[in-house]
């Protein structure tokens, strides 16, 4: 049967079992929206800004392991979406982004709302396509879904000129797709795995260091089994939190710039590092030269060969899908019937316990001013540690990562790689669509929340009972912290003057607003929000200590063990 291009787009999405599309209509996608209107299998979520659409689709995927789908119009629709696409790209999130384009004959003529979408997005997508003929539309969309979710995942963009959405052709959705130029490795090399195990069994001061790859590949449970089988200490990156239970005694906490003292010291002084789905980035290992001062053996499991030996030289690279590789490791381990060297390991744990006793996350909660850490701790208690927590970027993000103990994967949703302010609120929307009954909280600050605050309107339209935990210190806190520590207390443009009354603002959008400025009110307010106002969006504006800083801290360019600890210690 002959279908129009617009009908084909919708049919393809239906074939892919897409349930939600986050988007914003406009001239060049009107025919597609017309077809969307005529069906009810796919629900469209109308955002208030295209950046919000991409963040929502992104967090929809992060919290569910489904592919996020968003749709925007040409020109400004696309350029507004770019921040969202780049955010997803940096964190390897599978998205399919459908963009309208001006009609084929107008391309290159500076037409109204024309932008070189493929050119603009090329550096921040896994791949992109400009559909040049109606005959290749269905197969291109199939490729987009295939590419987005296989190998190292990422956003894939399909740019569709308006004239193609009105042309007709026979529709057949390919069941499978093969691309000669693309075949990601899945199984790890058994010989390499054997070599790795030998090194691990001989290790005296081993550490496991895992990242977002564990979450993305659904390997958390297997990782937990492997970690228990080896008995090694484990630390995680900001993107990896939830990949291993944070309340388990083998967990040292997050490592890196704001990682725990014990995690950073153990990483720096380990003789063997088992890196899984992580990429040794600058916020994790600090200065690579300092890291390299101590010799250690590094085993690195990653599906992307280009992540291996990019920043640090790796001794045993294992390219493959993390759960497949861990399976093989567990299999070989039980066949070997060997245990790690017990005495050395016990001594190593003793040393780690010494580092732990520094209690690097200790903070002081007085009677007058609310400490931001206290809010996150209470949030953890009130939600039973079982909420989905989205976050923006800055101090509040680090406090959330340090103080909310994630025991399950896909519960911690934040922009780790790109560090995108404005991510948290639209992300919380995406999480709630993917998990309609879940408790969802967005830990944010008064700076970040204002970057996508228009989505409060979307939340009203779809009755999304998100709880916004606004850690309001009247500053761009992380900027202020750096200025205090490295720029002689010159707070250039980091004070946000003329803040809105967030309570009234929330109410203006039809939500519940609360302002909390006393430590004693923190827990009651949270209980009221999460229990009494279970079904409402509540904006909790916590007026916190403006001087609070995030510790420990590894200054940019410094080594992992050169931490600055809290003055309170």
């Amino acid at each position: 049967m002959q279908l129009t291009g617009a009908e084909i787009v919708i049919r393809c999405l239906q074939e892919e079992k897409v349930e939600h599309v986050f988007g914003y209509p406009g001239g060049s996608v009107l025919f597609i929206y017309d077809e969307l209107f005529k069906q009810d299998q796919i629900k469209h979520v109308l955002v208030r800004h295209e950046q919000g659409a991409v963040h929502a689709a992104d967090a929809y995927s992060r919290s569910s392991n489904k592919i996020g789908v968003c749709m925007v119009t040409s020109g400004p629709g696309v350029t507004n979406a770019v921040t969202g696409i780049a955010t997803a790209h940096m964190d390897s999130i599978p998205l399919v982004v459908i963009t309208g384009q001006v009609p084929t004959a107008y391309i290159g003529q500076d037409a109204f709302q024309e932008a070189d979408t493929v050119g603009i997005t090329r550096p921040c997508v896994k791949h992109n396509f400009l559909v040049k003929s109606i005959d290749e539309l269905a197969v291109t969309i199939k490729k987009a879904f295939f590419l987005a979710s296989s190998g190292r995942p990422g956003p894939v963009l399909v740019d569709i000129p308006k004239d193609i959405t009105t042309q007709k052709c026979d529709f057949q959705y390919p069941k499978q797709i093969a691309m000669r130029s693309y075949s990601p490795v899945v199984k790890g090399h058994a010989g390499q795995i054997k070599k790795a195990l030998q090194i691990l069994l001989d290790a005296r001061r081993p550490i496991m260091y895992t990242g977002g790859g564990v979450i993305l590949s659904e390997a958390a449970e297997k990782l937990t089994r492997l970690t228990h089988a080896l008995g090694f200490p484990i630390t995680q990156t900001l993107m990896g939190l939830g990949g291993f239970p944070a309340t388990d005694k083998q967990f040292l906490g997050m490592l890196g710039m704001h990682g725990t003292y014990e995690a950073n010291m153990a990483m720096q002084h380990a003789d063997v590092v088992l890196a899984i789905g992580a990429r040794f980035d600058d916020r994790v290992i600090g200065n690579p030269a300092h890291f390299g001062e101590i010799s250690r053996k590094i085993i690195h499991i990653d599906i992307d060969p280009s992540s291996i030996s990019k920043r640090v030289k790796v001794d045993v690279p294992i390219v493959g899908n993390v759960p497949d590789v861990i399976d093989e490791m567990l299999k070989q381990l039980s066949a070997l019937d060997a245990k790690p060297e017990g005495k050395a390991l016990a001594a190593w744990w003793k040393e780690i316990d010494g580092w732990r006793s520094r209690q690097c996350l200790k903070y002081r909660q007085g009677k007058e001013v609310i400490a931001p850490q206290f809010v996150v701790e209470k949030l953890y208690e009130v939600t039973g540690g079982d909420a989905f927590i989205t976050s923006d970027v800055g101090q509040h993000q680090m406090f959330a990562a340090q103080f909310y103990k994630f025991n399950k994967p896909r519960r911690w949703i934040n922009s780790g790689g790109l560090g995108t302010m404005g991510f948290g609120l639209p992300a919380a929307m995406g999480v709630r669509f993917a998990n309609p009954k879940a408790t969802v909280a967005c830990v944010t600050g008064e700076g970040s929340i204002q970057m996508c605050i228009q989505e409060l309107s979307t939340c009203k339209q779809f009755r999304l009972p998100i709880k916004i935990i606004n850690l309001n210190n009247g500053y761009l806190g992380m900027v202020r912290q750096w200025q205090e520590m490295f720029h002689g207390n010159r707070y250039a443009e980091s004070y946000v003057d003329a803040l809105p009354d967030f309570v009234k603002l929330a109410e203006a959008y039809g939500h519940v607003g609360m302002r909390i400025d006393k430590p004693a009110d923190v827990e009651p307010a949270l209980r009221e929000a999460f229990i009494k106002h279970k079904n409402d969006l509540v904006f909790l504006d916590f007026i916190i200590d403006p001087k609070a800083n995030v510790f420990p801290m590894v200054a940019a360019g410094k080594g992992l063990s050169e931490m600055i600890l809290s003055e309170d210690l």
Binding site: R122, L147, M179, S181, Y182, S306, S309
Partner: protein, 163 residues
């Protein structure tokens, strides 16, 4: 070190910009880049000459392999290979220079492929060093214009790059 990287890539619009964009985005160096379709019109063959440490060249090949349109990548300079470059030079050819220019072109096995009363266009093929040597051998003030294709290369013997 100088490396010659050969790439088989889907002959699609924008494929070249994916490769050149990768080099500029990651700060890799390109000395020359040539590209043309192969006997299979669905594939293009690209040759890139780049200079970098072993670590950087390893990253370049990995990053190239990661591009979805790239089918195969090989570092030709890892083993025996042949490289060639084509150059066209337009020179002033008047008076005694006319005869001298012909003589030097012959020595370098160049061919004169365009003749006017006052100029020649000389076609010359060889490796980069040979073309440089020719330019050094003639009087620089007589050169009106030069154009070079950049290096293309192929492995010797059994080293074959195909799908």
């Amino acid at each position: 070190m100088r490396h010659i990287i050969s790439i088989l890539i889907e002959n699609e619009a924008g494929a070249l910009s994916r490769v050149s964009g990768l080099f500029s985005a990651r700060g890799y160096n390109i000395e020359s880049l040539t590209v043309a379709p192969t006997e299979d019109a669905s594939l293009s063959r690209m040759t890139i000459v780049s200079v970098g440490s072993d670590d950087i060249i390893e990253q370049i090949t990995k990053q190239l392999n990661k591009l979805i349109d790239v089918v195969k990548v090989v570092d030709l300079s890892e083993a025996a290979h042949i490289e060639r470059e084509l150059m066209l030079v337009k020179v002033r050819a008047t008076g005694k220079d006319r005869e001298e220019m012909k003589r030097v072109a012959d020595i370098f096995r160049g061919r004169i492929i365009d003749v006017t009363e006052s100029s020649y266009v000389i076609e010359l093929t060889g490796n980069t060093a040979k073309l440089d040597a020719f330019l050094d051998a003639i009087d620089r003030s007589l050169i009106l214009e030069t154009v070079r294709t950049g290096v293309c290369g192929i492995g010797r013997g059994d080293r074959i790059l195909r799908v």
